[in-house]
Symmetry: C2
């Protein structure tokens, strides 16, 4: 059970990452809206390091599933659509490494996930897929990093999940706020 100390956005409180998906197709328009929402994330120098590949055509979705790690494949059978999140490793104008590229792309994923929730869609980001094989099959240039593959669809019937996943099919809890807060006291000497 999730418990909250503060009044926070309903969509943040309600969103979670289920594994039970309906096979009902996701409209391309919905996927594009999610990507538009993602793109309004802030980023270092407004670099917008994120890139996306949409998968919603049935044949492509089926092929994509062959790149999933075995454990993910077990619950992905019904997933009707995916969005692959990538980022540019270098700043475009200077070619220097962008050490905020992953962070900024994570922010974009955050916006994406909340807009999906608002549209009645569920999402589940996965790290478990054959990154190099997928990059090669999609002819992704070397300066782009594949960071997450996000399953998108309507919430399905958890009773159809393999038992191990069925038992875990509930919103994840979080450690206490205190455990995320570091005490930091700046000494006087600096001034």
């Amino acid at each position: 059970m999730r418990t909250f100390n503060y009044d926070i956005m309903d969509s943040i409180k309600e969103r979670w990452s289920p594994r039970a998906f309906k096979s009902t197709p996701v409209k391309e328009e919905d996927l594009r809206a999610l990507v538009e929402a993602a793109g309004y994330a802030p980023s270092c120098f407004n670099e917008q390091p994120w890139r996306f590949v949409l998968f919603h055509e049935a044949g492509q979705v089926t092929r994509l599933k062959s790149y999933l790690a075995t454990a993910n494949r077990e619950w992905n059978q019904e997933v009707p659509a995916y969005v692959l999140f990538l980022y540019h490793k270098q700043f475009q104008h200077k070619g220097k490494d962008n050490r905020w590229a992953a962070f900024d792309t994570g922010t974009a994923w955050g916006y994406f996930s909340l807009e999906a929730h608002r549209r009645g869609l569920v999402t589940h980001a996965m790290a478990g897929f054959s990154r190099s094989a997928l990059a090669e099959a999609l002819a992704i240039p070397d300066n782009l990093e594949l960071i997450a593959l996000v399953a998108v669809g309507e919430y399905g019937d958890p009773s159809k999940l393999p038992e191990a996943y069925r038992l875990r099919e509930q919103p994840g809890t979080r450690r206490s706020l205190e455990e995320s807060l570091l005490k930091g006291e700046l000494p006087q000497s600096r001034l």
Copy 2:
């Protein structure tokens, strides 16, 4: 001017990263609520790699400003509070490098930014600060990375900003959706 192709969340459409802040203090309770919202971001293995340091006590806030890059210091004079975002570089249970730590912490920052907007607060994430000096002053352990320093407060009076910043004081635009979408077609051969 921002233009939108799709109907997306108002808070995503409206949020931006201003530089005009009021000096009115931010309640500690608000900062804690923002961090609670941040902590409900999804993360790889629910690792929650993010950590935070809150700065709201006037003396600490003033001292923190001495660590800002010069360009940031110019517009930060009124900023009443900060949250430093850090992440654990390794997974806690196995000690292996967590390649999603920055990405996941970016997601947490996304949730933080939208909850701030809901509370009538503005935020501006900065990369320009003396990371190593600040890490040392705060005695941050080596396995934690400082990724962003976020200014938090009420929106202020843009006419008080130095001219260069005053002229830029409007919501940032974004490149077109098409430029963020890569065409990816999986070849048949894999199956």
